[in-house]
């Protein structure tokens, strides 16, 4: 029987999201009528390349490092109250993630839990690194001859729906479009066809609104005195109620902070959208250009007017290659004439860096005068509107493939402790392993996602 309403909550919107946000969502969902789902979105573009590196070192790793933190607190309650879990926890190793979940389920006494794995996003399984290098890049840098660390296609909602139809309690995906985590359950429950563009569009919009967790419920929104948010420290995560006729309401977990308003929904609706008429996904091209939002109750916003166009013949894939190293180092100057001392420190650094004779880019900031809103090559002496006395922090940043050179630039900041202007303090440095990404388009007929149940592997 087709349900009248499907409830889908979100427990995480990025790989570092709060681990205690899901429980109030689960408790709220447990009290609702009809099918119930909980999604976790934990896979940013470059997270997958890092995961792939982990997997190469240890074949049992390579899934979300936070999986256990997210799953353990809610798994039993979800299982007992028939809340299905859908997530891209899998990263570079969906099967490994499923095995870990199974282990946790055993410990919690969730007997006969059915865990499904969606595979088929990993391009390196079906083509060589060289084949991938030959694809033209549509976004990001040219791949060139660089070794491909990871290459994953954004799968759509269909394999998720299939896994759920076959009885999965938990579905683990590697790379899929973020909205597919929500659209998959809707396709399963409502039986929306592959060319039901308008409903697929609404489901995709619901997914887009949910995929960043609290970003639609008052998080990443507060601007005191302008946009105030109650109890931001305990912001509640979102729940979408989607009806069979395609109507969509965004609300949030009970007994939590935050808010759902027309404003919070509008901000998230346009988040990371370019042309509002053409948001490409694996399942549909979403058109939100005519969407309306309406507050229909406390923390309840109705969203209408999504339109859909035929899905593209290609699927997007993210290709990751080694990106060398990034070095960053910082030092503080404070009190009388601090700005002048900070500027002198930068003069010294510039002179010392010239002696390194590298073509690597190097950026200088004086935090407190100019930093994040400034360009890479701005004049750090053009600070006349800032007081000489103050509390300033200088920063140097560089990147390159030669680790030694990158480290040497950091070292120049450290040397200011004894060889720079008076009273520099609070040195910190970072050296980060970088990944570069590019996007390519792959013929969708080449991609054949497969659903496995953990029991199939035994």
């Amino acid at each position: 029987m087709v349900p009248s309403v499907v409830n889908i909550g979100c427990g995480a919107g990025f790989s570092g999201d709060r681990v205690d946000a899901a429980m109030p969502v689960v408790e709220t969902l447990a009290n609702k009528e009809g099918p119930k789902y909980l999604i976790f979105e934990t896979l940013a573009e470059r997270t997958l390349a890092l995961a792939q590196k982990h997997r190469r070192k240890d074949p049992t790793h390579g899934y979300s490092p936070f999986l256990e933190n997210y799953i353990r607190p809610i798994l039993k309650k979800c299982y007992e109250t028939d809340i299905k879990i859908v997530s891209n926890f899998g990263a570079a190793n969906p099967k490994g993630a499923a095995m870990k979940i199974s282990e946790i389920a055993d410990q919690l006494g969730c007997k006969n839990i059915k865990i499904a794995v969606v595979e088929g996003d990993d391009l390196l399984q079906i083509m060589s690194s060289q084949d991938i290098q030959n694809y033209p890049t549509i976004e990001g840098l040219e791949i060139g001859d660089n070794e491909v660390v990871a290459a994953n296609v954004y799968l759509g909602a269909r394999p998720i729906a299939e896994a759920l139809s076959r009885g999965a309690d938990v579905v683990v995906v590697g790379r899929c479009t973020d909205p597919a985590l929500v659209l998959g359950p809707l396709v399963k429950e409502f039986g929306w066809g592959e060319d039901d563009w308008i409903n697929l569009a609404t489901g995709t919009m619901a997914g887009h609104l949910l995929e960043c967790g609290g970003q639609v419920t008052g998080a990443y929104f507060a601007d005191p005195g302008y946009k105030d948010v109650p109890d931001l420290a305990n912001v509640g995560f979102p729940i979408a109620e989607v009806a069979n006729d395609g109507s969509l309401i965004i609300t949030k977990a009970d007994n939590t902070g935050g808010l759902v308003s027309a404003q919070t929904v509008k901000e998230q609706l346009l988040y990371e959208i370019h042309d509002p008429e053409n948001y490409f996904t694996a399942d549909v091209i979403l058109d939100i250009s005519k969407v309306k939002v309406l507050e229909v109750g406390p923390d309840r916003v109705k969203v209408t007017g999504a339109r859909g166009k035929q899905r593209p013949d290609t699927l997007k894939a993210t290709v990751s290659i080694d990106g060398g190293w990034m070095g960053e180092a910082e030092m503080s100057y404070a009190g009388p004439n601090a700005l002048k001392r900070a500027q002198l420190a930068i003069d010294v650094l510039k002179s010392r860096c010239r002696d390194i004779k590298t073509n690597n880019p190097i950026r200088f900031d004086i935090v407190g005068t100019m930093s994040v809103h400034s360009g890479d090559n701005e004049d750090t002496t053009n600070t006349h509107k800032y007081p000489d006395d103050g509390d300033y922090r200088i920063r140097i940043a560089t990147c390159g493939h030669d680790k030694e050179i990158v480290e040497r630039v950091n070292q120049e900041m450290l040397s200011l402790y004894c060889s720079g202007p008076a009273a520099g303090g609070g040195f910190r440095q970072h050296l980060t392993d970088q990944v570069q990404t590019a996007s390519i388009l792959v013929d969708r007929n080449k991609i054949l996602p497969k659903v496995h149940f953990l029991t199939d592997y035994a």
């Binding site: 042309d275 969407v291 309306k292 990034m326 880019p361 400034s374």
Partner: protein, 115 residues
Amino acid sequence: MAQEHMRTVRLHDIAHARAGDKGNRSNISLIPYRAATYEILLEQVTEKRVLELFSNKGASNVIRYELPNLPALNFVIDDVLEGGVNSALNLDQHGKTLSFLLLTLSVEVPVTLTV
């Protein structure tokens, strides 16, 4: 409107915004607190002005999309992220803070709409 008393305010007083990134391209939504000020945004927050505002960061092109039903504008700004999240040397590799740079633009608003 010409006869009305006008006041210069920052966009921050009449609208809110959020920035997102994809590669070396940023998109920034601009959403008026009051639907009545949407027309002002349409008239005054032009692609040209936004390109100028972000030129120090290397912006090469701006496209403005209009969503009259929300109402809201969506600005897509090319080459503004110093290479993008994987290579930017900027502390803010995603350009998350750029929404509030957009909100520093000044606009002329009828006094009746600034309250």
